[in-house]
Amino acid sequence: MREINAKQIKDKVKELFLQANYCIGEDVLNSIKEASLKESSETGKNVLSMILQNYKVAAEEKIAICQDTGLSILFIKLGQEVHINDNWEEAINEGVKEAYVEGYLRKSAVTDPVFDRKNTKTNCPAIIYTDIVPGDKIELLVTPKGFGSENMSRMAMMVPADGPEGIVNFIVETVKIAGPNPCPPTIVGVCVGGTTDQACVTAKKATLRKVGEHNPDPRYADMERQALEKINNLGIGPAGLGGNVTSLWVNIEYKPTHIAGMPVAVNICCHAARHASAII
C-alpha cells in the first residue's frame, strides 16, 4: 500500500491544467506547420500562421491559448495499491479551482443547464473518469474542453451491416454538419462499439491520442486515412473560410459491443487540442 496525500493530487491537477491551457503539444504544433505547407487557400494559410503565432506567444507569456478554457475533464488511472489521505474528489476540484482562478483561465461552468445558468466562478465541478488499475501510481490525463467543438459532437446507433464505409461516411457527415463552428482545423476522435455511454467517453479520449499516430489495427488505420481524406475534400478549411485543411487527424478507437449493435460516437476537438499528463 502506498500512501498519497490529497494535496499532492491537488497540486498536480493545478499544474497540469495550467500547462495544458498555456502550451500546445508538439504533435499539434508540428501538424499545423505541415498543414501550412499543404493548405491551398491564401486566407487559410494566413489563419494557420496566426494560429502558430498565437501558440508561440501563449507559451512564452503563459497566457491561455484560447479564451474558452473549457470544462475541466480528467481521465485518471488509479493504482489499486494506492491509499489517498483525505478527500480525493475535493482535492481534484480544488486543483481545478486554483488553476482557473490564479492562472486567469476563463470560468465557463454554470450550475444548472436550464434555469439558473449561474457561473460557479471556479470552473468546477470537474468531470472525472477513473479506471482502477494494478500498481501503486496515479496517472492523470487532463483536458480543458471548449464548447465550440463539443457542441458539434454526434453519435449514432448504426447496425453491423453499415460496415466500415457507413462509419467513415458518418464521420465525414458529422464534420460537414459541424462546418466552420468547431474552429477548424480539428482533430476528430471516434469510438465504434461499446454502449452509447462508453462510446461517447472513448471518443472524447480518442481526441487526446497523438496526432500522427494511427490505430495499431491496420483496418481501423485504413478507416482513419479514408475519413481524413474525405474530410479534407469538403472544402471547409481553416476557420471555415475555405481550403483543404479541415482536420489535422482522425483517431478511431473500438470497444467490444453487443451482437445486435454498432454504436458510433464522434467527438470533435478544435485546433487548440489542449491536454497534459503526469504520473504521481
Partner: protein, 193 residues
C-alpha cells in the same frame, strides 16, 4: 478582395462597400455580447428601457473574454470569438438597434443574411483560437455592464486598435462564404450515400 481599415462609429455607406473575402481591421469601440447578453438586451428593450450603451453605428463581438480585476477597473487578458450561430435568432433585433458589424466565428444563417441586407451590416469572421494575439489589439476596457451575468456573459465595452485581421464572411449583398462552402460539402456528401 481588399484590405480595409475602419473606425467606429461606422457609416452604412462604408459597410455596404464591403464584399466577402475582404480583410477588415477595426479601431474604436467594440462591445461583446453572447447568449445571455442578447436575451437581456431584448428584455430591456421590450420593457421600453434604454440599453446601457448606444449601439448605433457600433460593433457587436460574439465573445467572452478573460479579464483581470484591478483596483480601478479591469485589464483584458485574452479574447476570441465564440460560435455565432447561437445568436441567429437575434440578428434582426441587432440590426434594428443600428449595429453595423457583427464579429464572431462560424458564420450565421439566412435570417442574419436578410438582416445584413436590410440594415446594411456585415458579418466578420475572427481567427478562432487565437485569443492571445487578438487580445493584444485591445487597448483597454472602457466599461462593463451586466457583470452579474458572469464575466463571459457581461457586456464588455472595449477600446481597440486595428482589431483583426477579420474576414468578411457575409456581406450586405446577401453573399455568404459559409453558404457556398456548405452547399459544396452537401454535394460531396450526396455522392457518398
Amino acid at each position: 478582395m481588399k484590405e480595409v481599415k475602419l473606425s467606429t462609429p461606422l457609416k452604412e455607406v462604408d459597410i455596404r462597400k464591403l464584399r466577402i473575402g475582404d480583410v477588415v481591421y477595426i479601431s474604436g469601440i467594440i462591445v461583446t455580447s453572447r447568449d445571455m447578453g442578447h436575451l437581456k438586451m431584448r428584455e430591456v428593450i421590450e420593457r421600453g428601457e434604454k440599453l446601457p450603451v448606444d449601439l448605433s453605428g457600433e460593433v457587436i463581438f460574439h465573445a467572452g473574454p478573460v479579464v483581470k480585476k484591478k483596483d480601478s477597473g479591469y485589464e483584458l487578458r485574452v479574447i476570441g470569438p465564440t460560435t455565432s450561430i447561437r445568436m441567429e435568432p437575434h440578428s434582426d433585433f441587432i440590426g434594428n438597434l443600428g449595429v453595423k458589424v457583427i464579429i464572431g466565428k462560424g458564420g450565421m444563417d439566412e435570417g442574419t443574411s436578410n438582416a445584413l441586407q436590410k440594415y446594411g451590416m456585415v458579418y466578420l469572421q475572427a481567427p478562432p483560437g487565437c485569443a492571445v494575439v487578438l487580445g493584444e489589439k485591445v487597448e483597454k476596457v472602457e466599461n462593463v455592464y451586466w457583470i452579474e451575468l458572469g464575466v463571459p456573459e457581461a457586456l464588455w465595452v472595449l477600446k481597440v486598435n486595428e482589431f483583426g485581421p477579420l474576414v468578411v464572411g457575409m456581406d450586405s449583398t446577401g453573399d455568404s462564404v459559409y453558404r457556398s462552402i456548405k452547399e459544396n460539402g452537401e454535394k460531396l456528401i450526396e455522392k457518398m450515400f
